[in-house]
Symmetry: C2
Subunit: 206 residues, 2 copies
């Protein structure tokens, strides 16, 4: 199957496969099975086999999946065999914490531009990065060729910031503001919202 035709629901699971496979490798394993992967991911072994078969059958009956090979292939499919630069807009508590975060695996994601509109923040440093004026956002991002942005501004500013980012050429937005962004379909949006995750879990609590 052509990679472009993979359903988004399957794509959404691939980063979790990658995470579990790296954890299994770190724990000293060289191979795994659809049973083990299913257990770790809360999916059925049949689902695992179906997902992975879309990329050309990585597993062999009886011997299981070769973990390093599968990791390499998933990295390639997800375009993680390179470094991605990120612009971050909104350097409050959360933006500050993200800008200082060094934990992205193998340095494959690197925040390299910070913006805020608050005069008292503009010009300040976070680690080695200087906070720039949000007014400079469009030209600076255009010049840099950056395709990914994180939004950590207050909810009522998020839509305007997102629209500006799209004008600047950004094609993927990780949105931390608790609002639903309305953007052209060509733009990828993922939301990080702890409240939604908590609300999912309280369904199961008494």
């Amino acid at each position: 199957m052509n990679e472009k035709n993979i359903p988004d629901i399957v794509v959404s699971r691939l980063p979790r496969y990658l995470q579990v496979l790296k954890q299994l490798l770190d724990e000293g394993n060289a191979t795994t099975s659809s049973n083990e992967l299913g257990y770790c991911l809360g999916l059925t072994p049949a689902q695992i086999r179906k997902d992975l078969s879309m990329f050309g059958g990585f597993g062999k009956q009886g011997t299981g999946y070769n973990i390093p090979f599968l990791i390499d292939r998933l990295n390639e499919i997800l375009h993680l065999d390179r470094q991605w630069l990120i612009a971050l807009v909104g350097v409050g508590d959360l933006g500050h914490a993200l800008a200082r975060y060094q934990g992205f695996t193998g340095g494959r994601f690197r925040i390299c531009l910070l913006f805020d509109r608050e005069p008292s923040l503009i010009g300040n440093k976070v680690g080695e990065l200087t906070i720039r004026d949000s007014k400079e956002m469009i030209p600076l991002i255009k010049d840099s060729g950056i395709q990914i942005a994180m939004i950590t501004v207050p909810p009522d500013e998020a839509q305007d910031v997102a629209s500006s980012l799209v004008k600047a050429g950004v094609r993927a937005i990780l949105n931390y503001a608790p609002v639903v962004l309305r953007l052209p379909p060509k733009v990828q949006v993922q939301n990080i919202d702890p409240e939604l995750k908590l609300e999912h879990m309280t369904f199961y609590l008494e």
Copy 2:
């Protein structure tokens, strides 16, 4: 349908319905349609109708869905008609930002206990809360009856912290550490991992 039998994939969408409905209400709407909800959520109108019908048919042909009624009903289903207290473990940059965050809608989630094992942090205040020693975690959480915890410790500490939380009676964990936690199935776990979201989006970038 009995609420306990709702598939988890449907439950996972309900908080997003709630978010979109509140946004539509804030924008001055009193009713909505499966078409509008589908557009906002990236789902088909048929999927919306199917999901909402599980809770007893909120919509009327031709007049659409009554937004305030639907919000009330979803709050009730998700057990959001009360306040939930939360314990947070790991008061680094991110934990600090979360502890200071006041944005949970209507105060329905409130972080009220902070823990860290770092001696230089124990006893410090974040807002009105004092950072406690992680060693006190199990008795303090047991006494409080808290059922929800957030984990913002380094990855290699997360599994031990999670196991202690379960011993303390916690039944729902929002995990910010980039590891897969292995816990009894009765415990709800949701993960917040920006790297997984970024990796999902890079699939679509060149």
